[in-house]
């Protein structure tokens, strides 16, 4: 989405935005793919992050090919491939399996879900969140989620956090990440009190790479978040609450399931309200 110029446009046209500003603008669809690719390449070269390049490539290729096929078949347009690329690369990083087929299947599920599970013209689930949750539910014998760390070094973690925070701030999604992190910290204290476990053990997951991908790339996905800033904050808080409940039940993949449960419900409510808001003036006039 490109923002419209304000009504009181000054007489002197403003100087065009700098390359920096244009690059880090919400409208740059290459920003997220570039960032996630940088993380992947750096992580692989430094820490051996991936299960293998071939498996991640399979996930990416499947996502892109299927996006092209389904886009052409269903929407009859050649789709922009940035979204499919992010889906493929997310699957390639977050999914762990010694076999090849789960990578292809997970990517295929993600892309196909966008075209099948729709409500009022929008897809409800973040595609990779949906497909990874489905794989963990349907095929736990064959897959797990990211288990590797990124060096477990405070500086490596700090770089990812600072870079990730900067990007989500530039694309105006920082409030989502911040709300989630604060909710997680507060609910960690609640979990520690309930379980009698050390507080730091409850906070520990947040310091790992799986969460860094989750809070910067998954919960901030513009296509599957509600419209209002307040609504976005409420939704991620609810994700954190559901995650806490799942964690208390001992679910290792609680964040994925929590987002998969809360996300589509919130989207459906949001789309219904939007639809009613459009319909109500007509009703009144009738």
């Amino acid at each position: 989405m490109i923002e419209q110029p304000p009504a009181n446009t000054p007489a002197v046209p403003p100087s065009p935005p700098s390359l920096f500003a244009r690059f880090f603008s919400p409208g740059n669809r290459y920003l997220a793919p570039l960032l996630i690719t940088s993380i992947l390449v750096a992580g692989q070269l430094r820490f051996g992050l991936l299960e293998s390049f071939s498996r991640t490539s399979l996930a990416i290729a499947t996502a892109i090919i299927l996006e092209l096929v389904l886009g052409r078949l269903v929407v009859r347009k050649w789709p922009h491939l940035a979204s499919a690329y992010i889906t493929g690369i997310s699957v390639g990083i977050l999914l762990r399996s010694p076999d090849f087929w789960p990578y292809a299947l997970c990517s295929a599920l993600a892309i196909t879900s966008k075209y099948v599970i729709r409500w009022r013209g929008r897809h409800l689930w973040n595609p990779s969140n949906f497909s990874i949750s489905a794989m963990l539910l349907l095929a736990p014998e064959y897959v797990a989620t990211l288990s590797i760390q990124w060096g477990n070094d405070i500086w490596a973690m700090a770089i990812v956090w600072v870079l990730g925070a900067f990007i989500v701030w530039r694309v105006k999604r920082f409030h989502i990440t911040l709300t989630y992190v604060l909710s997680f910290l507060a609910l960690s204290a609640v979990r520690a009190a309930i379980l009698g476990d050390p507080f730091l053990s409850e906070v520990a997951p947040l310091t790992g790479p799986m969460y860094q991908l989750f809070i910067f790339f998954m919960i901030t996905d513009p296509r599957t978040t509600v419209r209002s800033v307040r609504g976005q904050c409420v939704v991620v808080f609810l994700v954190a609450v559901v995650e806490m409940i799942l964690r208390l039940a001992g679910s290792v993949v609680a964040p994925f399931y929590a987002l998969a449960i809360v996300g589509p419900i919130a989207m459906a409510i949001d789309l219904s309200r939007a639809s009613r808001a459009v319909a109500s003036p007509i009703k009144r006039s009738a």
Binding site: F47, G48, E51, L70, L73, V74, V75, R76, K77, R96, S97, P98, D99, W101, L105, A108, L109, T112, S113, Y115, V116, G121, A134, M135, L136, L138, A139, P140, E141, Y142, V143, A144, S147, I148, Q149, G151, N152, D153, I154, M157, L195, G196, D197, P198, L200, S201, E202, V203, A204, P205, T207, G208, P209, M210, R247, G250, S251, V252, V253
Partner: protein, 603 residues
């Protein structure tokens, strides 16, 4: 504004069916695999013997082996995670300590004050514990630490295997007095006062005819696990930890004296070592050292002419993806005349799928530029469980090396799992993970417990088939150490498994009739007398297989030194080529099959 184009009904229905099919695929695949397994499982024991060529029967008690491992009780500061921290120590090694021609076994205990056992093979299928009589039982006295494993090697070339006992505590060297008794010679050998070790191997790294010793630390040697100053003792990362114990390389100076030369020789690492093995991986004539590390990548120390070691894990392709290495075993898995290295890791469905590694030399790769690729998935030996010890051996005498892998970490309450808590803290930053106080209490829960084992049969066509339950390996103890040996001198490999807080198991092997074998018992003269490092390459029936005499492999274990070759239906061997550590070569032409052949290094 462009109106969205509505897809046709046919396309909509088609895509929906495709989506449902994708969702159904894992369930259908699972069902197919279960049906396949059920079809195999329905076979009778005679069918199993005919199909796989062997069956195993647990026979420890009827053989007179009554040994149950006991774990240590460490500092009370670790009480909340005691079973997890004290989850190692069960270890077994095979040796003919009295040179009577029958393989004996030494098994260690890890309770403070607990006794180790030396089971002497009586040659009639029975064993008797003679550890107390020979002075190898009472070696876990409080204040000296507890046993973690033992490796045997004739360091003074007097013809009798001596034993190095490594501990979380004071390492000890015992001299074998002609198979009658053992004398503690630790001080004369100048061994360090305290090492929290979980691996040691004998090797002659400079081929000077005297056995040297590699010792790998797990916890730092500065830590006395019974008297902790604080709880900052855990690895600082689940995958990149470098705050473990140091490594030692003791050069044998002769006369029972050793010099520690690790740093001088280029071995300087603080990864958390759990297994090591030495083999001439590049055909240089000198043994390289492969180290499997917990919480990190494996290390490969290339031997540069006995003068220095160079760590080349990344260069060789094995030093990237960090896992939880717990065994290191070599074997010529594809009968190509080259060693592959098997490393066990952790796999738990839906939680952590590291997969075990089988490092096989890449095609066309050899010599100083050798590189490896992980063929575990391609060959079907990847998913074990919480895998510890593993050994290669031809269990069915078909001429191809099979693989025995034991699994299981901590089995407490069967219905409550610690996995969630473990994964929670293991993914955390070093400031959190490295402090044991931050680890949630175990509270009697299991962590990777009650796991079935894996016995993978090599089909000779580049695939392994898992047959553990079918051939009789049904135990679910927390397996640690695996050692293979021919206890009845009958040409078949029996399997010993030491279990943490569990019984020592002896799986006796029965091989289908009509399969032949050859065993080689090597003795060095110019080389070390144990012949550790000697290679034998056997040629028969258009095939070849390479084996070596090992000074320790797997997890805290040592196979029988005698080499065992299965030959399948072949009734003749073309030749055996032996390369001794001294560099001497020897060829045995057309040796008879089905015999134990004693071979002395020619002068």
């Amino acid at each position: 504004m462009e109106r969205p184009v509505e897809p046709s009904r046919v396309v909509q229905v088609g895509v929906a069916i495709f989506f449902v099919a994708l969702l159904a695929f894992p369930l259908a695949y699972k069902r197919y695999q279960r049906r396949n397994a059920a079809a195999h499982a329905s076979a009778s024991s005679s069918e199993i013997l005919a199909r796989y060529g062997f069956v195993l029967r647990e026979s420890s008690r009827e053989s007179g082996i009554h040994f149950t491992h006991q774990a240590p009780t460490l500092d009370p500061k670790l009480n909340h995670i005691m079973e997890q921290v004290a989850s190692m120590g069960a270890a077994v090694s095979i040796v003919d300590f009295d040179r009577d021609g029958w393989a004996d076994l030494y098994v260690v205990d890890s309770r403070e004050g607990g006794h180790n056992a030396l089971y002497r093979n009586l040659g009639n299928g029975k064993f008797e514990d003679v550890a107390a009589a020979v002075g190898l039982a009472d070696v876990n006295q409080p204040g000296t630490g507890v046993s973690m494993g033992a490796v045997w090697g004739d360091y003074d070339n007097d013809g009798y295997e001596d034993v190095f006992l490594y501990k979380w505590g004071k390492p000890e060297l015992f001299h074998n007095n002609a198979g009658k008794s053992f004398t503690r010679v630790t001080e004369e050998a100048s061994l360090p006062p305290w090492v929290n070790a979980n691996t040691a191997i004998w090797l002659d790294y400079d081929n000077d005819g005297k056995l040297d010793l590699f010792l790998g630390g797990y916890y730092p040697e500065s830590i006395d696990l019974w008297h902790l100053k604080n709880t900052l003792i855990m690895p600082d990362s689940f995958e990149y930890a470098q705050n473990g114990g140091r490594k030692y390389l003791f050069h044998n100076l002769g006369g029972g004296r050793f010099e520690e030369v690790s740093r001088k020789m280029g071995i300087d690492s603080r990864r958390w070592s759990l297994a090591a093995t030495a083999a001439d991986l590049r055909g240089t004539g000198y043994p390289d050292i492969f180290v499997a590390n917990d919480y990190g990548v494996s290390e490969l120390y290339l031997n540069e002419g006995g003068k220095r070691f160079r760590e080349a894990g990344k260069q060789a392709g094995i030093g990237f993806s960090p896992k939880s290495g717990m065994t290191a075993s070599t074997g010529d898995v594809l009968n190509q005349g080259q060693f592959g290295v098997y490393v066990s890791n952790i796999s738990e469905e839906g939680i952590l799928v590291q997969g075990n590694n089988l490092w096989v030399p890449k095609a066309g790769s050899s010599g100083k530029d050798i590189t490896y690729e992980n063929m575990a998935n391609a060959l079907g030996v990847e998913l074990g469980g919480w895998s510890f010890g593993a050994q290669f051996g031809d269990l069915n005498n078909d001429g191809f090396l099979d693989l025995y892998v034991t699994n299981g970490n901590v089995s407490l309450d069967k219905n409550r799992s610690y996995w969630y808590d473990y994964s929670k803290v293991a993914g955390g930053n070093r400031a959190i993970i490295s402090d044991a106080a931050n680890w949630p209490p175990l509270r009697g829960r299991s962590l990777g417990g009650y796991q079935h084992k894996r016995v993978w049969v090599n089909d000779g066509q580049g695939r392994f088939q898992e047959v553990a339950q079918l051939v009789g390996v049904t135990d679910v103890f927390d397996g640690r150490s695996v050692a293979l040996g021919d206890f009845e001198n009958s040409g078949v490999l029996d399997v010993l498994v030491a279990n943490q807080r569990g019984p020592l198991l002896l799986y006796k092997d029965t091989v289908a009739p009509g399969r032949h074998w050859l065993e080689l018992e090597l003795e060095g003269t110019a080389s070390n007398r144990s012949a550790i490092g000697a290679e034998a390459r056997i040629f028969w029936d258009g095939r070849q297989q390479l084996q070596q005499v090992s000074g320790g492999s797997g997890f805290c274990s040592q196979n029988q030194r005698r080499l065992h070759f299965g030959l399948g239906r072949a009734t003749a061997v073309d030749r055996v080529e032996i390369r001794w550590p001294s560099g001497r070569r020897q060829t045995l032409t057309a040796p008879k099959v089905d015999q134990i052949l004693k071979v002395k290094e020619p002068s």
